[in-house]
């Protein structure tokens, strides 16, 4: 660690300002909802049951997502094959799909008339029943495995190639490499990945209820919907929002307690090439993991593509307009998210108030968009018409929601760059913009591209707060898709879903690719 290798500069202040902004955008709306509340019934036993279910399913979902991602990421890090980067990009798609599309895609494989059930029936076995806790976890793994794989893969790719060369010279076996190089990296990367996925799963609502099979699968987010829409008990909605904050803070503290700082050191930024794991068994094993993950993630996606393909030409024109709006929104989101994440990552990498900052960064995915949206609505409405604010508010909230992911990608890379080059830069008198330009940014290209792509793609697929603000003529692509679904127009909705999938992937791919141009500067 290069604690304080760099003097505190503008970037540190910028980082602190971003953290303050995140806190404000979450705390103030929460407060506004609470202030507007009349008498509240407080939290009842049903609410606490929802908290227990929420935490339990999120824990399992994160555990399985991260656990399964390790061998897949390792296989992808060790193997080089044709179409590898395309596969990695494609595998990221479930993460950005609207919930209902992804669920319907999953059902073509795991549903009552899905492929798996059909195959089992051929052998005289009963079909699979997806509804229940296992279905919820399965869907969450489907959504989040790609993210876990990417975050862990970033960690693998960040191990300097010189280390692997040295290991090869010393005759390290795969086991030695795992012990001396991979495990320390994993201890650094896994807790953060676990935290992010755990928190995403705590705000799950439609997936949990739809696949959970009944009111047992009530999450905190659904309890908030109930408080807001069914009982109009704003006090309880805000209290439940606070419960989400508490879950986030507790999880954050726990994870940071487990995590160790990066201690790998740095190399000369060259492409990783592996000399270990060339045995036949290792190759077969890696191949099996990659194939299994690809099938699990790509079969449901294929179903989405096949169904949408027929309808895409005949969709109502409003869909295309909505698509343009979504693209513009996602570009703004990506730049705002990256602009916020970079100074914050630099501050975190310096080790100042690290736990606090990471937790603040994660808050924006832990707290209900419905509560935040309602609070913002209450605050902004006296100032301007909600429809005038729809796109800026959505852009800001989307950027905040993407912040934790961008941070996850950036922090390890910034830490490493600072550890490796911070002192050298200091001794050369490089600081401020020059340090950023010549030392840091070239080394952050890959995670920056990845982060920006993720933020843009997330924003494309996100329904978020726009529903509260948007006028009928202002819908984004996912909103239009839901509107189609709500009026029997399943075919058009499937076309819109395909368009959404293609656009999200394309925008992610462009950013991610951009980050890898001249990766070995």
């Amino acid at each position: 660690m290069a604690r304080s290798a760099q003097p505190v500069g503008i970037s540190a202040w910028a980082g602190a300002a971003v953290a303050a902004l995140v806190l404000t955008v979450i705390a103030v709306p929460l407060g506004a909802v609470m202030l507007r509340a009349d008498a509240s019934s407080g939290l009842g036993p049903a609410d606490w049951a929802a908290v227990r279910f929420t935490v339990g399913q999120a824990f399992l979902s994160a555990l399985f997502s991260v656990g399964l991602a390790i061998p897949v990421a390792r296989a992808l890090a060790r193997r080089n094959f044709r179409g590898r980067s395309a596969l990695i990009a494609l595998m990221g798609a479930p993460f950005i799909l609207p919930v209902i599309v992804a669920v319907l895609g999953l059902l073509t494989v795991f549903g009552r008339q899905g492929a798996l059930s059909e195959i089992l029936r051929l052998f005289g076995l009963p079909g699979v029943e997806i509804y229940g806790l296992h279905g919820v976890v399965l869907a969450h793994v489907f959504f989040n495995l790609p993210l876990a794989v990417r975050l862990i893969l970033q960690g693998w790719l960040a191990i300097p190639v010189e280390r692997f060369r040295l290991a090869a010279t010393l005759g390290f076996s795969s086991r030695d490499i795992a012990r001396h190089m991979e495990r320390p990296m994993l201890r650094n990367v896994l807790p953060g990945a676990f935290l992010v996925i755990f928190l995403i799963c705590t705000t799950s609502f439609a997936v949990a209820l739809t696949l959970g099979g009944g009111p047992r699968a009530t999450t905190v987010e659904l309890a908030i919907y109930q408080a807001f829409l069914f009982d109009f008990d704003l006090g309880r909605a805000a209290l439940l929002g606070l419960v989400q904050v508490a879950i986030c803070v507790i999880a954050g503290v726990f994870v940071l307690w487990v995590a160790t700082p990066n201690a790998i050191g740095t190399g000369l930024d060259q492409q990783v090439e592996r000399w270990d794991g060339q045995s036949r068994a290792a190759r077969l094993l890696d191949g099996a993991f990659i194939t299994a993950a690809a099938l699990f993630l790509l079969l449901p996606l294929t179903a989405v593509v096949l169904r949408g393909a027929g309808a895409i030409a005949t969709m109502p024109p409003s869909i295309w307009v909505a698509a343009l709006r979504s693209i513009a929104l996602s570009l703004v989101t990506a730049s705002v998210a990256v602009g916020m994440a970079l100074p914050m990552a630099m501050l975190i990498a310096r080790g100042r108030a690290r736990g606090l900052l990471e937790t603040i960064g994660a808050l924006s995915i832990a707290v209900s968009p419905l509560v935040i949206g309602t609070g913002l609505f209450l605050i902004l409405r006296p100032i301007a018409g909600p429809t005038d604010m729809a796109l800026p508010v959505t852009g800001l909230v989307n950027a905040l929601a993407a912040l934790p992911f961008v941070l996850r990608a950036l922090v390890p890379a910034v830490e490493q760059a600072e550890a490796g080059y911070g002192r050298l830069a200091l001794s050369l008198g490089l600081s401020g913009p020059n340090y950023l330009r010549h030392v840091l940014l070239p080394r952050l290209r890959r995670p920056l591209g990845f982060g920006a792509g993720l933020a843009a793609a997330l924003s494309m697929g996100d329904l978020g707060v726009i529903t509260l603000f948007a006028a009928p003529q202002q819908g984004t692509l996912p909103l239009e898709m839901y509107r189609l679904m709500g009026s029997y127009r399943t075919d058009d909705a499937q076309g819109a879903a395909l368009l959404l999938l293609v656009l999200s992937l394309a925008i992610f791919w462009i950013f991610d690719r951009g980050g890898r141009v001249n990766a070995a500067v």
């Binding site: 439609a206 739809t210 009944g214 100032i383 529903t467 006028a471 009928p472 189609l484 709500g486 009026s487």
Partner: protein, 334 residues
């Protein structure tokens, strides 16, 4: 977006608005809050807007707000300062809460030409369409149940919506409560093993049904009309229950203290004329509230005709809601 923001906007914003509003300064703007699907390109909104603007000398603007329940929540958040002149799209389960806000004015519109299956008397809310809740299934389904108890005894798989987040879900809750009263909880317990899953909204449930995940889905008797008319698919129908079907009646009301009270009243009267009513069947896929059955589009005659239509008064529905929800949750959480 000309003149989107009306007179009620505070001074701070008016500078910004002024320039945009100039062009239409003389044309009054009638703002109608409604649910999302009403205003979509394929919903009733565009045709209704065009027809009313032909005669009103006004600019009609829809503001979409999720579903019926979000519509009411939005109105409650805004309170007295709401921009809405009319709120369109609440149903009878929401009327009591809407009335309680004190935000609605008496409409004073003659409602004698209503064609609802039940009598309607309400000073503040006027119906614009209605439908029977029903379980929709494929025509090749065997042993179609004719009651909830038959359904519970069968091994038919059904998908329903959560009453806490969905209007059809709440409608089903009321339906069971209406037919079975104190025995409702036992009926839900018996139904538990038929329920594949409970979805947050209508779209997810209907999607699961179309996907083949269930034999039946809670929807409306008019749902098969969509498949028949828009998709030329006659393989969907609805199950006729002997005890009768619960009604959903969708209503509109005018906001107290609206700047355009006369215009709002004109719109409510227009709402019950054929120009509005004839748009409803093939855009909202519900029955129009004031149009004789003979004027319904071809295809609607193939739908099942439940007898009788069941409905609680808004006050009864509000009083029973929490108890019915608790029974539902207790029965399905075991």
């Amino acid at each position: 977006m000309k003149g989107k923001v009306t007179m009620k906007t505070p001074l701070i914003a008016s500078g910004l608005i002024l320039a945009a509003g100039m062009a239409s300064a003389d044309t009054p703007v009638l703002t109608i809050y409604t649910y999302d699907s009403f205003t979509s390109d394929w919903g009733p909104g565009p045709a209704v807007e065009a027809a009313f603007e032909e005669t009103c000398g006004c600019d009609l603007q829809f503001v979409g707000a999720g579903d019926g329940a979000s519509l009411l929540a939005r109105l409650r958040l805004e309170g007295d300062s709401t921009d809405a002149d009319i709120v369109l799209g609440l149903d009878t389960n929401l009327i009591a809460a809407a009335r309680e806000t004190g935000l609605f004015a008496d409409h004073g519109v003659d409602a004698s030409n209503l064609t609802l299956p039940v009598a309607w008397q309400d000073d503040q809310f006027l119906p614009f369409d209605w439908g029977y809740f029903a379980f929709v299934h494929d025509t090749d389904m065997q042993n179609v149940p004719t009651s909830f108890t038959e359904l519970a005894e069968s091994d038919a798989r059904i998908v329903i919506q959560d009453p806490r987040s969905s209007t059809p879900g709440l409608g089903l809750l009321m339906w069971v409560k209406y037919v079975y009263g104190d025995a409702a909880e036992a009926v839900w317990e018996a139904l538990a093993d038929n329920i594949v899953t409970v979805t947050p909204g209508w779209s997810e449930a209907y999607g699961l049904f179309l996907e083949g995940e269930a034999d039946m889905v809670l929807s409306y008797t008019t749902s098969p009309a969509y498949h028949l008319i828009a998709e030329e698919d006659d393989t969907r129908t609805a199950a006729l229950f002997d005890a009768g079907h619960y009604l959903q009646i969708e209503v509109a009301g005018m906001v107290e203290g609206s700047d355009h009270a006369d215009l709002a009243r004109d719109f409510l009267a227009f709402m019950l004329t054929p120009a509005f009513q004839s748009v409803i069947p093939t855009t909202n896929w519900m029955y129009p509230a004031a149009l004789p059955a003979s004027d319904l589009p071809e295809g609607f005659d193939t739908l099942i005709q439940p007898q009788p239509g069941l409905i609680f008064t808004p006050e009864e529905a509000a009083a029973l809601r929490d108890e019915a929800l608790e029974e539902w949750r207790a029965a399905l959480s075991q």
